[in-house]
């Protein structure tokens, strides 16, 4: 584009029409570091911009690394969350239909599975490496487990409320939180000791199934597992499992 009225001269043209493509190799000036320039370009082009959840987590946890580890939790990924909600919604629907508090029965098992799949050698391929990072793998485990537990509890509460169980059964409606804690702790302990997420899931689910069935057998109803008298035993059990998980994550084992 040359400016009008100029006889082919383009000294002040904005898009230089008189530029000619250099043929042959043009070497860049020796004092200009092109690889440094490219690194700057690539840094902008390749960078990842954290989503709002991660940004918030980074501020709350005061660690961008921990926040990133949290949002990449396998059992907090969208697919898993949707599956959890579906299971609990189905439970709510079933409760509305039959009156049996399915949500209360499902929620601990689902949460236990979620906890087992939050972190650990069975699920994290770069497990060895993550044991050498400044953000300790134990912190990651703790934060992820709490987040999974919290989300499952919230989803469970919502489903329980939606299942319309009346006030007298409120103890059952919300009394599954403590058993859920125990099941999650069991799943966590099993997963960290066996270094396998699948073992954790299996332990959590079978432990819970056994408890519920034992209640059915001894007291004749499925909801016996939610008895108030069991609150303290559940919490004590959860504390023991927590201690086991803590210990298991302290000493890395393995062959030389």
């Amino acid at each position: 584009m040359t400016d009008e009225g100029v006889n082919g001269e383009a000294i002040f043209s904005r898009n230089s029409a008189n530029w000619t493509e250099p043929d042959g190799l043009v070497l860049s000036p020796p004092d200009v570091d092109l690889s440094r320039v490219w690194t700057g370009v690539a840094a902008e082009v390749w960078r990842r911009r954290p989503g709002p959840a991660e940004w918030l987590a980074a501020r709350l946890l005061r660690s961008p690394g921990l926040a990133r580890a949290l949002v990449t939790t396998p059992s907090l990924l969208l697919g898993w969350l949707i599956a959890t909600l579906i299971v609990l919604a189905a439970g709510a629907a079933a409760t509305l239909g039959t009156g049996t508090p399915y949500v209360a029965l499902f929620a601990p098992a689902v949460a236990g599975a979620g906890i087992a799949y939050a972190y650990g050698p069975g699920i994290d391929p770069a497990w060895e490496l993550s044991q050498s990072t400044a953000v300790s793998d134990r912190m990651v485990l703790l934060v992820r487990a709490l987040a999974v537990f919290g989300l499952n509890a919230a989803a469970g509460l919502a489903a329980a409320a939606a299942s319309g169980v009346s006030g007298s059964a409120a103890a059952v409606t919300f009394g599954w939180l403590v058993p859920m804690t125990a099941v999650c702790a069991l799943a966590l302990a099993a997963a960290t000791v066996s270094r396998s997420a699948n073992v954790g899931v299996a332990a959590g689910m079978s432990g819970w199934a056994i408890t519920v069935l034992a209640g059915q057998v001894s007291a004749g109803r499925l909801t016996a597992a939610f008895a108030n008298s069991l609150l303290l035993p559940y919490l004590a059990f959860a504390a023991c499992c927590g201690a086991v998980a803590w210990y298991a994550t302290r000493i890395p084992r393995g062959a030389s």
């Binding site: 990842r48 980074a58 000493i251």
Partner: protein, 266 residues
Amino acid sequence: MNIELTDLTRRFGRTYAVAGVSMEAGPGVFGLLGPNGAGKTSLLRMMATVLPPTSGRLRLLGRDPGSPGPRREIRRRLGYLPQSLGYYPGFTVAEFVEYFALLKDMPPGRVPRAVAAAVEQVGLGDKAKAKLRTLSGGMLRRAGIAQAIVNDPDLLLLDEPTAGLDPEQRVAFRAILRGLGERATVVVSTHLVEDVGAACSQVALMDAGKVVFDGTPGELIARGEGSGAAGDAPLERGYSAVLAAARSVPATRSAAGTPPGPETWA
């Protein structure tokens, strides 16, 4: 001194994987050679603060990794590439390197540039936004090297870093090592003897949990001369000679469960 080991041991059950190792290392590139089962990986894992020692003294970057605070500070200045590094299939190369940059407490403002520099340095600039599941084994290894160097570590520990790399890539990799070794302490554990000769200023040879040779590559070559030991290259002959000499001497310290055996490296 970035690494100071004094009589370090590591026991699993009744076996000593590391049976009393003492060494000191400042800046430079150090090779760790030895047959499988010699204890190289355990030693490296102890230096990576992944495995606590059973006994002995370990000081890294002037700090004691036994306490959480100093351990965290060491880990910020540490780069580690384990022998088998899993990867997150859905991550891209850049995301993978960035993930570990963040886990190493790098300030977020510095991360994008550091990631770009590391990815370019290992020659994966064309694959920065490619998903890890689409990469070959050699490329994955290079991605692993990139995450190890992203925080410009003072202590870089690499366990079999050149597995799966073709010769041209290995040459490029050695150039990276030499550059890094100017300021940092780089420890490369490998069973590829030639790798060591080209890049390392100092070599330690381990067998059955102990260091049986500690010197320069030239000195290792000298040990092999005229000994009639097996090997196609001077370094390999030195390697064989040292191992043979070490194994013909009865074990003085209890390295239970590891009697001298035939040379078994692949």
